[in-house]
Symmetry: C3
Subunit: 359 residues, 3 copies
């Protein structure tokens, strides 16, 4: 961990660490907020997370195996408990063995959530509710990218969807996004909302597909909305949809519209790299797995377009740390989100100091 | 840019940035003399070059597109002018936007030339004339390599062709090169010439092919010449050829000889990497595209042999910066060329200081 | 070379630099103890080793060729002698040329051995005897890995074979290794021995194969032994074998046992990378080349399993230099071996200081 630089992410917060399906029989090693962690399923499949560092000789526990709910080091067989205390080691008395760090971890809504900071403060009630999960009226599909860029560049990206016109011109972009002003609101220390409502416009290819998929005409004018909600530390949920024009737009009855939520969980790996969990929850045609896969493949392509842009933007910014970038009205969503992030980091400074002394 | 080290290349000079064909519809990003640049075709196909850095959020403009002669950022649609000033941005007033750096750039002789330093001093008349370009009696073919080595190692390489005997033994090398002394002359601050004339020797495989290609016997003794001309900052043009022995050598009539010019434009990317534009202009059989391709493929192979040598030489030298290398008579061409480079760097110091303060 | 850090390896010692078959007609470049060396065969096939650095322009001599026992630089033809003095260079008087470093080097037992330190102290009698070499009752097969880890992690690995139970569960591992205590002895400054004797246990798959291969029943209980001998700087020879239970174990007559020596020569490349020469000398079925190849392939697979573990252990330790690792009884072999290494390093400090000043 680079302790000389100010942190760029809060630690006392829930981050998505993995998709639940990533952690099955084998342990999963993943670096989050600069900490190398290992995730595994302990007794009764319950998720557990400790440092990926065997206290015996420093081997990564993620190269080991899980045996009757205990994490067994793959080098010399040390058995680790989910509290970071050693359970046993062949031929050794382990009472005096040093413990390693364990992390608060929860499995919820199909994701593994981790709290990298002080586990005493970890309250599972703070995990944001994902109401569509396990709801038969909704379907979900998604994926994961590793991106070599500061996670806040992805927050900026998602809180300003004007980039769709340029980066995603062939799928969801259209000139009307640029031409329609957006509005940004900040709700205390917990939410930033940037919204844009477009009226009486053609539907771009993605939404034409969605209309057809829902049995609606795809060749008529629509009203379109984008409501980006940032919540700290780095979650962005975007309500998106179109309704046949004049039917009430965002408030139209279900029979006249298609809508979904773009799901973005952005987890810092280090100061300049991230894990990007992306997906879409939709409330149309939920039983059609082919549509789920088609959307997932489409999103994969769309977010790949962002990936190169962000990595090269990161390189440009790293080479010119002295340059002040413009903060235009379209950037308000990202600017306000970064302010909340900074507040959260500031807020935890006194809390984190003693914790760091223990580590 | 590493400002703590003394520069190893002049900036107020014309460098080859690209082959003209590399810049078509799409912008081309390329780092030259430590500066990231983007090249594109503005109005009427005219070449333009600005920093590869969007003043909005630092995105690389080279990921964007060219639209009616304007460079459009691929992230949020900012329109950049070829003078580095912002033309427009959707929904924004751009008058107060900061400008980025623009560069003097010229398209000439099938190459794009850039002047990385003070554009006020850039005079297109200083671009070296390539008389064979667009001349039906000549043909040209060439290519581009990226090499992880100080560009001056390539100048050394080309100004001492004794290495041909060892590195290129199967094509153009022959023992007689080593055995024949070379002569090096310096012409003021503008040229170093190293020349070697060999008499009554067998022709190596490349020149046998050239003789045959020109309808001349390939199994008789020849006179052979190599005249390497270095001009700052880093251009090396080498007159090479053979004539049937006793017909006057370099001065023989065209009916008795084959000759060409090896073209080497060596452009620093950083202090320890370079773009190497290589090619051959020949005055025999100019209409035969198959010969052009055969020579191009042969040069590609020959220069690939140099590439590994230079990259590993660079690594060795970087590990032993304290060692003084030998400067033998065969090295005089490189030694004198480096002196001219150093003079050019020194000369521009007072000019560059205020420019650096602005950057 | 990083001179600011204390060395982690002695230099006045014989290391294995290559398998003899690696050095044939062409020179071989290899970095050992931070020094780039080139190995080649001089007059009468005699092995020679000098710095991989041409005193003319710093080119790596390993890109050159060997011509009548002389090492010829592949760049400009300088001829290097095996004492590091220049023999000749085309068209040049070489008397004043600086010499490069030459190294004491020996070919013995199918390996090339090098002494990276003061060549005056290099005594070939100090090369450890490998009695099985060229002995028709024995057969040998082996290979080479490059591993990105401190070479001492491999010494630890080999001096504590409890890891076999976990890392190599499918071939040579078995729970009885863990359950049987080992004993570690230190013999002055020259040897550490860790031994483990197991009685009346099933034979794991590798040893079943060996028993069958030697015409012995593979489905009966066996006595098994592992005797790991570390000798500085970093050689580990492990006597391993099984005898039918109750026939005397390690001391049983040949008719009742199969045994072999696991050969491990571990050569530092840099402080955090190594060359790992591994193999097995066996005293059963020596004439059967198919068995040699089967064992070699099996060892290749087994040691590949160690490789990832060590490289990731190295990364973990580099990230946490402040952590004190546990030193359990099973670690005694590695702990004592490291003590000998440290003594050897200390011992050569006064010798090395003037040598470093010359370099």
């Amino acid at each position: 961990m680079r302790t000389s630089e100010p942190s760029t992410f809060p630690r006392n917060a829930w981050y998505v660490a993995a998709m639940a399906a990533e952690v099955q029989d084998k342990p999963l090693g993943r670096q989050i907020c600069n900490a190398r962690m290992v995730f595994y399923r302990a007794q009764q499949g319950q998720i557990a997370c400790v440092e990926d560092f065997c206290p015996h000789r420093g081997a990564p526990l993620s190269l080991g195996r899980v045996c009757e709910g205990k994490l067994v080091c793959g080098y010399h067989g040390l058995e680790m408990g989910c509290d970071g205390r050693v359970i046993a080691m062949p031929g050794q008395r382990v009472r005096g063995f040093p413990a390693i760090k364990s992390y608060a971890v929860e499995e919820r809504y199909g994701f593994i959530w981790v709290w990298p900071g002080d586990r005493e403060q970890a309250d599972a009630a703070l995990i944001p509710p994902l109401h569509w999960h396990a709801n038969p009226e909704w379907a979900y599909g998604g994926g994961l990218f590793h991106i070599q860029a500061d996670y806040r560049l992805m927050v900026d990206n998602l809180m300003d969807l004007t980039h769709e016109t340029y980066v995603h011109a062939a799928s969801i972009g259209q000139a009307e996004i640029d031409e329609t002003p957006c509005k940004t609101e900040v709700h205390g220390e917990t939410e930033v909302v940037t919204s844009r409502f477009m009226h009486d416009i053609p539907a771009p290819p993605f939404w034409q597909m969605a209309l057809r998929s829902n049995g609606l005409a795809d060749d008529v004018k629509v009203d379109r909305w984008q409501i980006c909600r940032f919540t700290p530390p780095s979650h962005v949920l975007i309500e998106v949809g179109v309704a046949h024009a004049g039917k009430g737009g965002y408030a139209a009855e279900d029979a006249h519209k298609v809508y979904s939520v773009v799901v973005d969980f952005i987890t810092p790996e280090t100061e300049d790299s991230m894990w990007y969990f992306w997906g879409m929850a939709r409330k149309f045609n939920p039983g059609d797995a082919a549509v789920t896969e088609q959307i997932r493949a489409g999103q994969h392509k769309i977010f790949s377009e962002d990936l190169e842009m962000l990595e090269r933007q990161q390189r440009n910014l790293a080479e010119h740390p002295e340059r002040q970038l413009l903060k235009l009205s379209i950037d308000a969503g990202g600017v306000q989100s970064r302010k909340l992030i900074a507040q959260w980091i500031d807020r935890e400074q006194p809390v984190q100091r003693p914790a760091a002394a223990q580590a």
